[in-house]
Amino acid sequence: MANMSKKKTPMPTQPAEERIHNFCEVALGYTEEMAVDEAFRCLNCKTKPCVSGCPVGINIPAFIERIKTKDFDGAYEIIRFASSLPAVCGRVCPQENQCEKYCVRGKNGESVGIGRLERFVADRHNEKEDNKAVEIPSKGKKVAVIGSGPSGLACAGELSQRGYEVTVFEALHVAGGVLVYGIPEFRLPKSIVQKEVENLKKMGVKIETNMVIGKTLTIDELMEDYGYNAVFVGSGAGLPRFMGIPGESLKGVYSANEYLTRSNLMKAYREHSGTPIMKGGRIAVVGGGNVAMDAARTALRLGAEKVYIVYRRSMEELPARKEEVEHAIEEGVEFRLLNNPVEILGYKNENDPRDPKNGFVTGIKCIKMELGEPDERGRRRPVPIEGSEFVLEVDTVVMSIGTSPNPLIKNTTSGLEVNSKGGIIVEESTCATTKDCVYAGGDAVTGAATVISAMGAGKAAAKAIDEKLSE
């Protein structure tokens, strides 16, 4: 019998007042009972509108049917067929804009909690230690994957399953890309990413850290001197953007990348960490995406007294995942919407240039905005209200207004072309670049986007590489 409840089975979470003092995961995951209950809300409709919303085309109704019969291994197999990182995507996909957006149940009530079910199935699988390595006959060909973020990991997994010898090159000291340096522990525990990486290693994928391709080695060298038959570039969108307003070089102004990297990757969140970070006090995070939410909620956990999100549009346009916004509000983050920074203010003791407080942030001057005519993408353009400037007193400002692709690889690879924004030019269906046997996907191509779309590109590239090398 279908479960006709209009609401999703609630997700157990750590209470807000507790979780703002720790970095443990906020959403705790469904129990078996909850998962089965939620699965019965799925009507298993023939048209499967949800599947069309999934960037990697997971057969969603089929895996949910398996949950109904408690065949959780069967459910995992179905998801795994299409997705390389189910435990990750179940947590970080913006489901409300993807699969769940098209769910029939959503027309009258809440959609089926597809993301939550995916997470349940993946976690249940990962708890078991029987991840046996399957022997795959080698094709005797080598592929280099640059970057170990979502697109790189997906591409490596797929190629390895197809019998290629895969080496993943990572610039940082640990594999996972944005999944480890960017997304905080409380949203995506690092043990989950590690598990996925371990699974790849078991399949025979080699991971080399501290290798900056473009510097330590170039793509041309990988192919000419080291015998790699093809290369996949999944180097991500590296360079943080700043607004270009006065005061951005003051002490206490961070890019979100730096702030989150210090906390996540360099472990500043631990009590006796050797990594410095400005904590406590008042902090403004500029931007409205997932990264901004991550930075704001990290700040709370590091002990900030007051955390603001400063965003130039309204709640409706806020691009962050709905659940993250809700969690941020519950935790006490204050949203200053329709506010746009115009200047960051700093301390200056005119009488004493040696005053150690000189040059530290004291506030952020914003102007109020109103929504005007829609822009070319249909979003209403924010327009400043003249004379409405005001100052928010803060000690720290985190700029979270996006990133652009890193030019390191482009600058050192002959024949690799990029577009005006710095994204690598590819043929959409195959991810083939302008250089023979070199493929690219993820943020390095599109600029900042989602984990799942990057993963989808990694898989598509793997397929194309297989076809190319089988010629």
């Binding site: 080399e208 330590t216 700043f242 890019s255 050797g274």
Partner: protein, 294 residues
């Protein structure tokens, strides 16, 4: 060639360690991939061990492509450099990544003035050596607070056509700062193709001011706070005054060398002190001597 066997599963061994003065130490680290590509002016990023999470940049002060080792010379200024200094020959460090940044441009230079200050001399040396080997005339000025802090004098002697050693108190070489010999040479009308200054920010600022009236190009090497070294964090940003505009650059990918006439030194100095409180506490906490005094 197989990369994975060559990498020896990412182990970076300290094959040589030498104390140059009470706060400055030299280490040769086994890192064949870095050694193969390293150029004067480039830097590496290291992490001492798993527990200490911090990644720090250090400029390369030498390399042996055959042995596959890279030389770093560092001053003990904070928790991480302190921890590094405690490691012994034969031990390993967790991570060693590079070579990063752009190499110092030396092509076509026939006569160069190299100015090194303090531990910055360790970075200036390979530049002097490269120019010397390429047949350029090299005049070096190296400055220190006192005799005890003097490093690399013999090496500079060997790589320079003329060498001036300066100390603040006159305990070695001549008394005075590095600008004194510059003043004299410029007053005597001596001309160089380029002045390359590497050292504390305040020293570089004064070298730039001293050189400016001569119109000789002046390159400085910036060594700001940095995390990834690949352009990702933006923590190393600095401001250039270029054609009346303020331009933001990242030292890790656009530098570390910059046109000294464009750099906003006051801002860079302010930014370099962002964590000075934290570092002082870290350093003092790590040292029993300080702890007992407190």
């Amino acid at each position: 060639m197989d990369i994975c066997t060559e990498m020896k599963s990412n182990m970076y061994k300290i094959v040589n360690k030498k104390v140059l003065n009470p706060t400055v130490m030299l280490m040769d680290i086994e890192a064949p991939f870095v050694a193969r590509k390293a150029q004067p002016g480039q830097f590496i990023i290291l992490r001492v061990d798993e527990e200490r999470g911090e990644r720090i940049p250090l400029t390369i002060s030498g390399y042996d492509r055959e042995k596959g080792t890279v030389r770093i010379i560092f001053q003990i200024v904070g928790g991480t450099t302190k921890a590094l200094s405690m490691k012994d020959e034969g031990e390993y460090i967790a991570d060693f990544c590079g070579p990063l940044g752009e190499a110092t441009k030396t092509d076509g230079l026939k006569k160069v003035l190299i100015v090194g200050g303090g531990v910055g001399c360790a970075i200036a040396l390979p530049v002097a050596q490269k120019l010397h080997a390429d047949g350029a005339e090299v005049v070096s000025v190296i400055g220190f607070r006192n005799k005890d802090l003097l490093i690399l004098e013999d090496e500079f002697e060997a790589a320079s056509d003329r060498l001036f050693v300066m100390t603040d108190d006159g305990s070695a070489g001549e008394k005075g700062n590095v600008c004194a010999p510059l003043k004299k040479m410029f007053a005597d009308g001596e001309v160089f193709d380029e002045v390359i200054a590497i050292g504390p920010l305040v020293m570089m600022k004064f070298v730039v001011e001293e050189t400016k009236p001569t119109g000789i190009p002046c390159t400085v090497s910036m060594n700001p706070i940095m995390i990834d070294g690949t352009g990702m964090c933006g923590g190393c940003r600095l401001t250039l005054n270029r054609d009346g505009k303020r331009v933001t650059k990242f030292a890790c990918v656009d530098g570390p060398d910059f046109n000294g006439y464009e750099v906003d030194f006051d801002e860079a100095m302010s930014r370099s002190r962002m964590y000075s409180d934290f570092e002082r506490h870290e350093y003092e906490d790590s040292c029993n001597l300080f702890r007992e005094v407190k």
